[in-house]
Structure formats: structure tokens, C-alpha cells
């Protein structure tokens, strides 16, 4: 099994305080890895570092052959290969408020990948339907429930077809029924050959749906 993501001795410091110290983990294709630990232990920081939204001080991150080194975040122009490989679903979803659910998903397809509107809408419609929010395609973000918004956010992150999907606290706003549905969805994404790294403090969810659990302690 080839490792899709390798995190080696990752350390992040804020004002000489260790937010993350020496985190190492690997995620393979077709694998769901849960990054566990109580709040404030650096789970989100680790995901942000992998998505190059956050500088780190020590260690190395390699995503599908693309390496990130310690120091400031490189300029976007040098991150293009990484952006194609990694998708991130924020805990707060962070949908674009001025666009419908469908347009949230088509935006990157059209303007980053250069698809036509028709092509992009076909892909987005299929993605939303596969995530069970096809009927909400024309809704505005403010009109979506927490679970719907999360699935639209997943669809948006999946639209450019990244190999690695990062998710931050995906179960935070979900009731138990929705949680297990989400687990099934993630499994399906995995089976398509993606790797998933899921930061969560939900031990039950991690046990039920992750292939491996990496625990961070304070």
C-alpha cells in the first residue's frame, strides 16, 4: 500500500508554546484515519498545515509526492499541485454565502479546472445527488441545515477530485442517524481510492468508521 500522506515529526509553535509536537502519521489510499484527541490538542492545526493554510516549524509533510517544508507557507503559485491533491472540509463548512449550493460546487470546476458551465453543473449535480442533497442544489447556504451544509461542503471539496480529503470535526453538528450515514458516505469515498484524514474528538464515530486511529494527547 502506497502512503498518500506522510506526516513526519510535525511541530507547530505559537509564541514559543507547542501547539503540536512531533506528530507522525501516514494515510494510504482507500484508508480512513481518525486523528483523535481532546479539543485544543492541535488536530485542526495539523489539518491546516497539510492544506498549506498554516506554517509549521519542524518536520515534513508529503502529499502524494508533493513535499511541504518548515517555514512560511509558500505562495499559491507554487501550491498548485498540492491544491489538486488535497480537499479540506471545514468544521464550520465555510460555504460561499453569495452562491447557491450548486454554484458552490461548480465554482472551482469552472474557474480553476476550466470546465464549461454545463460540464461543471453535470459533475456538481451528480456529486450533490450522491451525497443525498441533490434536491437542495438551488438553495442558498443560509437555507441549509447543518447536515446539508456539511454535505454540500464535502461535495465542494470533492469537485476537483482530490486524492486526499481532510475533514475537521465532521460529526460536531450531526445527530446519531446522520453520523452513521456520514460514516457510510466516507467509506464510499474511500472505496473510490481516496485517503481520508478525519480530525474528531468523537471516539465512538472513530471506532465505528475509521480504519486506524491516531491519538494526540495534550
Amino acid at each position: 500500500m502506497t502512503a498518500l500522506l506522510v506526516i513526519d515529526q510535525l511541530s507547530v509553535r505559537y509564541d514559543s508554546r507547542d501547539v503540536l509536537r512531533g506528530l507522525s502519521l501516514e494515510v494510504a489510499r482507500g484508508e480512513i484515519v481518525a486523528l483523535m484527541g481532546p479539543s485544543g490538542v492541535g488536530k485542526s492545526t495539523a489539518l491546516r498545515a497539510v492544506a498549506a493554510l498554516q506554517a509549521f516549524d519542524d518536520g515534513q509533510i508529503v502529499v502524494d509526492g508533493f513535499a511541504l517544508a518548515p517555514g512560511p507557507v509558500p505562495p499559491e503559485s507554487r501550491l498548485v499541485p498540492l491544491r489538486r491533491r488535497v480537499g479540506l472540509v471545514f468544521q464550520a463548512h465555510a460555504l460561499f454565502e453569495h452562491l447557491t449550493a450548486l454554484d458552490n460546487v461548480t465554482l472551482a470546476l469552472r474557474h480553476v479546472l476550466g470546465r464549461t458551465r454545463d460540464e461543471a453543473e453535470a459533475v456538481a449535480t451528480e456529486l450533490l445527488a450522491s451525497l443525498d442533497v441533490g434536491s437542495r442544489a438551488s438553495a442558498w447556504p443560509g437555507q441549509l441545515s447543518g447536515g446539508e451544509a456539511q454535505r454540500v461542503a464535502i461535495a465542494r471539496a470533492l469537485a476537483p477530485d482530490p486524492h486526499l480529503l481532510l475533514m475537521d470535526e465532521p460529526t460536531a453538528a450531526l445527530d446519531p442517524a446522520r453520523r452513521s450515514a456520514l460514516g457510510a458516505t466516507l467509506r464510499r469515498l474511500c472505496e473510490q481510492g481516496r485517503g481520508l484524514l478525519v480530525a474528531t474528538h468523537d471516539a465512538e464515530f472513530a471506532r465505528a468508521h475509521a480504519d486506524r486511529v491516531v491519538s494526540l494527547t495534550a
Binding site: V80, L95, F96, H98, L107, A108, H111, V112
Partner: protein
């Protein structure tokens, strides 16, 4: 302490309205300057000038009173005298039919000629208004001269330019901003003296004749008759001639005027006006509608062009402040603070008059530039706030999707910021619509200025003021409505 001083001020000003019977309170504009009324260089608390001495002569003739001067803006003399701020207005006040129907007006005591001033090289070509087709002719707003120019616009196609003072027209003539100035010969001669006799020449042939009069409140016609008697006496006994000779404004036409008046007071009063026959109020209002409409068009055009410039300047400044390197952020901050921290009026003067030595901007362009650059600073703050109001997480989400910074601005941040900015922008545009009235100080006749001219001519602010307010409302209300609709349209939920 402050309260007692304030009370003293109030009492003093009340005193002006109820003076002792031994004092004649008269109003004039010392800003108009010599030889009419000016602050005495030897004692700036006192005024001097031929109108000052005429006022003193009138006061003396009214049972040995003393004259006390009250400063009033020239264009407000009529309104102030009706309000009772002073008893007699006297400061190069022109004899017009409207003034005669609205107020108690004295005999004419001085005859002036409306004369054209042109640059020396034009003196051979220009002999009268008819030679000024398509040329810019400056004068003081709300005067007989201005009415003459407006009337001549229709027949000769000249372009009247209205100023708020009688000094800048001659400076702008010498600099080539205007092609001629039409004003009273006293003012023209004074301006020529100030410029050391160069820069322009005064044409010998007058365009029209006019007369200076004193103006009293309409209800004060009995006192006006007494003032007339004093003036007649002063013409007979030579004191008026002495005054005019002292101020070097005596000429044979004054003697002829005095003769006419002594022969027949009624005839003189009838012959007074220079600006056509008396009109009734309603046709007058209708006659002003086209010029009000044109002025409203100027207001709208200045506002729209200024706002367009302000939006561009604001976007550039806001981008500099949000995205730029430290030095650019500093620079844009300095610009915003300097512009917001100084009066728009000052900026207008600097751009129009201050820069005249470097670049001579046409008045309209200077107005649009000043308003646009000024409002640009306010727009910049609105856009910066709006850009920063777009949640950071959305920007990060866009980055993880592979958008460039420019794409994020164009596709994610900009559209949402625009929504936040729309309401304050509309407010600013409505404010700009009204602030555009300030550009009249650099000779652009827009709605408020035209209304002021109208009001001065009819001697009342009631109808012109109401009309003007209606036009402003007609322009600003639909705008507010449009903004509300756009906001609703862009609201996501």
C-alpha cells in the same frame, strides 16, 4: 463665564434690531471691498468706503442720527433687511424691478455702467456681447450682469459663468479660464488697478446702465421716503458729489442722474431698472424652470461622474490597504486621513485655484476631481470594511480549492463585499448629491446655486427653496429605493 458672554452676544445682536432712535443701523458687505465698503486698514474694526459715507450722510439727515454698520453677505442683504437685522441695506445694491416690488427701495444715488473686460489681445475683436458667441463670460452671480448674460445666452450663444465674488473673475480672465468679464465699471476699474493695469482691458462701450440704491424692509416705506428726501438734499447741496469725488468714482453721468432726479423723482424711479420690465411672480417661476432643470442636470452629472471616480479611487485605495505591502498601506492610510481630515471646500479651492499655476483645470473637471478624490477616501474605508467583513474561512476554503488571490477577490470576496458596501455607498451618493452644491464656489452653476440666484432675483426663498428641495428629493429617493431592491436581490436567504 461662557454663558454670560453668550448672553451678552445675544443681547448685543438683539440690540441691533431695536436700536436707539439716534442710531441708523445699516447693513453692507465689507467683503465687497473698496470703494464700496471695506475694513479700514488703519482700524480694521471700522469700515470705510463711499457707501459708508453715504450711510453716514443719510443718518445725519434723519435728525442727526449716527450710522452703525452691520456686516451681511451681499447676496443676503434683501432677506436680512426684511428680517430686521438692520434698517437700511447699502452696498452696491442694484436697482431691479423685482427688488422694487418686494422691498422699499430708495432713489438711485449712483449710476454704474456694466462693462466688459477682455484680454488685451481680444480687444480688437470683441466689442460687445454679440462678439462672444461660444465664449465663457464671467460675472458675479445674482446680479443684473448675470441676468444680462443669461438673456444673451439665448441670442448670442455665450456661456455665462457665475462667481461668488468679484475678484476671481478677473484673475481667471487674465489666466485664460474665461474670455470676458461683465461687471460694474467701478469693480472693473478696481480690479485693473489691483493688477497693476495689465492682464485685461476694459471696453469703453458699456453693455448696460444700472443704479445703486438703498433697500429697506417693505413695511418701512415711510422711512424710505425720508431717506429719499435726504438723498435729494445731498444731491442738491453737493455732499454726495464730494463723497464720490473723494472715492474717485465721480463722473459726469452722476451729475446727469442728480439732475434727472431733482427734475422728476418719479421719472428717475421709473427709469431705474436695467434688466427689463417687471414680471409677475408666476411667469417668473415658470421662466426659471428651464434653468433649474439645467442646473439639476449639472448636479446629477457632477454627482454621477464624481461617484464613478470615487468608486475607482476607493477600490484602488482599499486594495492597497488590504492587499498592499507595508509602504503602500501607509501611503493609502495617509491619503485617506488627510482627505477626511480637511474640508472639501478647501480641497476644491486648492484644486481649482491652488493648482492654477501648474495646471489650469476647467471648473467642471476640477469639481468632479475634487469631489471624486474626496469621496474616494470615504469609499475606500467602506470597501476596506466590506472586504474585511467577508469571513476569513471562506477565503481559506477558496485557497484550498486552488483559486488564485485575484480569483478569490473576483469570485468570492468582491461579490460579498459589494453586498456589504451597497447601503453605505448609497448613503454616500446621496450625501455627494448634496455636497455637489459646494462646487458653485468654483463657478459651476448647479441646482443650489441656481436656486440661490432665483431666490435673490425674486427676493424670497419660499418657492425656489421648495422647488429645489423637491428636485433633490426626486433624485435621491429613487436611488435609495434602488439600493434597497439590490440589497434584497443579493441577500442569500
Amino acid at each position: 463665564m461662557i454663558a454670560s458672554r453668550l448672553a451678552l452676544c445675544v443681547l448685543t445682536s438683539l440690540g441691533a434690531q431695536h436700536p436707539s432712535p439716534h442710531v441708523l443701523v445699516w447693513g453692507g458687505d465689507a467683503e465687497g471691498g473698496a470703494p464700496f465698503v471695506e475694513a479700514d486698514p488703519g482700524d480694521p474694526s471700522q469700515v470705510r468706503g463711499f457707501d459708508v459715507e453715504v450711510a453716514a450722510r443719510i443718518a445725519r439727515g434723519l435728525g442727526g442720527r449716527t450710522a452703525r454698520f452691520v456686516q451681511v453677505q451681499w447676496s443676503n442683504i434683501d432677506q436680512s433687511v426684511e428680517r430686521g437685522d438692520f434698517t437700511l441695506g447699502l452696498s452696491g445694491v442694484e436697482d431691479t424691478p423685482t427688488r422694487r416690488t418686494r422691498h422699499a427701495v430708495t432713489l438711485p444715488y449712483f449710476e454704474f455702467r456694466e462693462v466688459l473686460a477682455v484680454r488685451p489681445e481680444d480687444a480688437g475683436r470683441i466689442h460687445g456681447l454679440a462678439d462672444l458667441r461660444g465664449r465663457r463670460v464671467a460675472t458675479l452671480g445674482a446680479t443684473i450682469a448675470y441676468d444680462l448674460l443669461v438673456a444673451a445666452r439665448a441670442t448670442t450663444g455665450l456661456i455665462p459663468i457665475s462667481y461668488d465674488d468679484d475678484v476671481h473673475p478677473y484673475g481667471d480672465l487674465a489666466q485664460g479660464r474665461v474670455d470676458a468679464v461683465l461687471l460694474d465699471h467701478i469693480i472693473a476699474q478696481r480690479a485693473l488697478r489691483r493688477r497693476g493695469g495689465s492682464g485685461f482691458v476694459i471696453l469703453a462701450q458699456p453693455v448696460a446702465l444700472g443704479h445703486y440704491v438703498g433697500v429697506l424692509a417693505r413695511a418701512n416705506s415711510a422711512l424710505r421716503d425720508s431717506v429719499d428726501a435726504v438723498l435729494r438734499e445731498a444731491m442738491r447741496d453737493g455732499t454726495l458729489e464730494q463723497i464720490f469725488r473723494r472715492w474717485d468714482v465721480w463722473d459726469p453721468s452722476q451729475g446727469a442722474l442728480f439732475d434727472r432726479i431733482s427734475r422728476n423723482a418719479a421719472e428717475a424711479a421709473g427709469a431705474a431698472g436695467a434688466a427689463g420690465a417687471a414680471r409677475t411672480r408666476i411667469p417668473q417661476a415658470i421662466a426659471y424652470l428651464p434653468s433649474l432643470a439645467r442646473a439639476a442636470g449639472v448636479t446629477l452629472l457632477v454627482s454621477i461622474l464624481s461617484m464613478a471616480l470615487a468608486v475607482l479611487v476607493g477600490l484602488a485605495l482599499a486594495s492597497g490597504r488590504v492587499y498592499g505591502p507595508v509602504w503602500l498601506r501607509l501611503l493609502t492610510t495617509v491619503y485617506v486621513e488627510v482627505i477626511r481630515g480637511t474640508p472639501l471646500l478647501l480641497q476644491l479651492f486648492v484644486i481649482y485655484y491652488g493648482l492654477a499655476g501648474v495646471i489650469r483645470l476647467p471648473a467642471f473637471l476640477a469639481a468632479v476631481l475634487a469631489l471624486g478624490l474626496n469621496y474616494g477616501a470615504y469609499e475606500a474605508e467602506i470597501y476596506r470594511g466590506a472586504l474585511e467583513a467577508v469571513p476569513r474561512l471562506q477565503l481559506e476554503a477558496a485557497r484550498t480549492l486552488g483559486f488564485s488571490e485575484l480569483q478569490i477577490l473576483r469570485l468570492v470576496r468582491g461579490p460579498q463585499a459589494l453586498r456589504f458596501a451597497l447601503a453605505p455607498m448609497t448613503n454616500d451618493f446621496v450625501a455627494l448629491l448634496k455636497d455637489s452644491a459646494l462646487v458653485s464656489v468654483i463657478t459651476v452653476v448647479e441646482l443650489t446655486k441656481q436656486t440661490a440666484i432665483y431666490a435673490t432675483n425674486v427676493g424670497s426663498w419660499v418657492v425656489p427653496g421648495a422647488l429645489c428641495a423637491l428636485v433633490y428629493l426626486a433624485m435621491s429617493l429613487p436611488l435609495a429605493r434602488l439600493a434597497r431592491r439590490l440589497e434584497q436581490h443579493w441577500r442569500p436567504a
